[in-house]
């Protein structure tokens, strides 16, 4: 009787699994902080990914199968990120993952994808090291890809803006004590050293610090003409508010996080004029961008029509299409084949940020090069183009520089 039951159960299970294969969805992981100080980036990224996945599903999916997103909140916490990663790989059996907002989480977690040979597309994390953890000769293949502007690019742009364009000679660096802040600070110092500039002050603060007086006074006393930042929204707002309190106002130029909604809202008038590199400005200057912004506003109805983090949303959206194109080309959901397809993507992917023509090669896993981002500026509670020249040429797509980046 017992045996009979087992046979029956197996038979039913077999039937169920064979019938499911035909329409079984393709599972794609989405990992990011959907709560906490980093959440504007995480939520916007997730929503961008969802928009793209919905569009693809409506057109029949990939390989005749629907995309199923498995969203997990990593809370910007390194150990939580590892848990989520293991869950996505071992329990949910995702075929690829989009995400990682926080450089620290990315660095701590993505080795599991590398070991499992499942591609992971970092669509927001910017730490220079993110795509360089698994390089040859130790690793023959690298499963980590990126669709955001890395910190080497961003720090170079920040320094170019401060030193070359605005002719500041004395700058101070304020960075938070996370992996993101401290790796970014190193990149900034390197970029400054390349111009023979030494920052007059390099200060640090913790997440949740409420008083920035000491850091700002040091910068002020050192005669800083501008403050270069590497941190996230809430603490950046405390810096802007702290400057107002000290009655000392110098320009803030920093990493792209100065465009986060929680910086703009919490700093209010004090945050006006802050400048940061952006891969995407919420400006409907191409039909694709217009459609994307309208779709986002319709689906998620953000306050004042402002996407909490437009860059994250756009990069999330584009990363989904890049991955979809790779899966289509691979003709399979096998991780190795998807990686190979990503590294030699024949289809031109028409994204919000640009048209991706062969975005990756075997040795280059960065989709964004330094010619692509523009300088954004906080103005009237929105991020706009800092320079009219960029704005007027906004509709001209900036494509990836074809000469491989120097190695």
């Amino acid at each position: 009787m017992k045996i009979k039951f087992k046979v029956l159960a197996t038979a039913i299970a077999l039937c169920a699994s064979t019938s499911a294969i035909a329409a079984e969805p393709i599972k794609i992981g989405v990992s990011g902080p959907f709560t906490g100080g980093s959440s504007p980036m995480g939520v916007s990224m997730r929503d961008g990914v969802k928009l793209a996945a919905d569009e693809i599903n409506k057109k029949g999916g990939i390989l005749g199968r629907q995309i199923q997103l498995i969203e997990r909140d990593d809370q910007a916490d390194n150990s939580r990120g590892i848990q989520v990663t293991q869950e996505l790989i071992d329990k949910e059996h995702v075929i690829a993952t989009l995400g990682y907002i926080n450089t620290g989480v990315s660095l701590a977690s993505q080795r599991f994808y590398q070991e499992a040979r499942i591609p992971v597309l970092n669509n927001v994390a910017t730490g220079s090291l993110v795509t360089k953890q698994f390089l040859p000769p130790q690793h023959t293949d690298n499963y980590v890809f990126r669709t955001s502007a890395n910190d080497t690019i961003q720090s170079a742009m920040i320094v170019r803006e401060a030193i070359d364009t605005r002719k500041f000679t004395k700058v101070a660096i304020l960075a938070d004590s996370t992996n993101y802040g401290q790796l970014g600070r190193e990149d900034l110092e390197k970029a400054l050293a390349a111009k023979n500039v030494k920052p007059v002050a390099v200060e640090k603060f913790n997440i949740k610090d409420v008083d920035m007086t000491a850091q700002l006074l040091k910068a002020k006393e050192a005669g800083a003409q501008a403050i270069l930042t590497y941190a996230i929204g809430p603490e950046l707002a405390q810096i802007a508010n702290g400057m107002e309190k000290l009655g000392w106002k110098v320009p803030m130029i920093g990493s792209w996080t100065l465009s986060m909604g929680n910086f703009i809202d919490n700093a209010g008038a004090n945050g006006e004029g802050a400048r940061m590199p952006q891969t995407f400005i919420q400006e409907p200057n191409t039909p694709k961008r217009k459609a994307f912004i309208a779709a986002y506003q319709k689906a998620y109805n953000p306050a004042n029509g402002r996407i909490p983090s437009p860059v994250s949303a756009a990069q999330g959206y584009d990363s989904t299409y890049i991955l979809a194109a790779a899966i289509k080309q691979a003709g399979s959901t096998d991780g190795v084949k998807i990686r190979e397809a990503l590294e030699n993507l024949n289809e031109k992917v028409d994204g919000v940020i640009t048209v991706y023509d062969h975005p990756y090669t075997h040795d280059d896993h960065e989709a964004i090069t330094i010619n692509m981002p523009v300088m954004g500026e906080v103005k009237g509670g929105h991020v706009v183009y800092a320079y009219d020249e960029d704005k007027n040429k906004g509709a001209v797509l900036r494509e990836k520089a074809k000469a491989p980046a120097k190695k």
Binding site: T35, G37, K204, V210, T213, A214, L217, L246, G247, N262
Partner: protein
Amino acid sequence: MEIFTQLLVSGIALGMIYAVIAFGYQLTFATSRTLNFGQGEALMLGALVGLTLVGYMNYWLMIPVVMIFGAMQGVVVERVGVRPALKTKSEFGWIMTTISLAIIFKNVAENVWGRDDLKFPSPLSASPLKFLGVNVLPMEIVVVVGAIAMMLAVEIFNRKSIYGKAVVATSNDRDAAGLMGINTSMVITFSYALSSMTAAFAGVLIAPLTLTGATMGVVLGLKAFAVAIIGGLNSGMGVIVGGMILGVAETTTGYYLSTGYKDVPGLVLLLLVLAVKPAGLFGKTVIKKV
């Protein structure tokens, strides 16, 4: 010199925030020898409830409402978490119960108000006042004055009113007070209400300076605990001085040493105090007779 004064002023404003939370630890410790480890969360709830109310009413009118809310929250903590532990004479039960209540409050707040940091509209001008070359925000003055006024009010209440005398009697000797006909468990409930009320009050005072969110109380509650230990768990003067010491230590170390080490001197001081004078700088050493 100007720099030093500025650091001093910012340090005192910061220290006063710590002091007023630390004061809450003292209130409950005096009557029941227990602490509410959810003091930081009481502050957070006060700030968030205040933020919701401020959409409907004037900031200054909102404060008393928030204080009533804080008092009720304190009663809940005492009834649910502390009283059962006291009844069973459990030495440490209240530690776990107050910590678990704190976590519950934080999770509830995350679900009600979300996990984002929100801006609390400042009732006063956000531009600084300048005197003697030092910049001070109007709100910082309100925090310092409000904190001291709050502590004074509680002290006067304890010394002058008949109810306050019951509180003092209970702190001196709970059993004797009970024999004298004082309802000591009522007094303990009251002290918890008072303690959470000061925390909620502190929350709405500091919210315009810090950001408001479900996690705002964690770091503040911890630092205030250090202040309570440094100053002494039974000295009102102690928390004020302790708070100022910690606040000024943070800002001056940040400036003169390194911002990476700004939390260290305060904690070193905590270790020193515990090693040299465990009752705190201003604490009275009580000999426990067994």
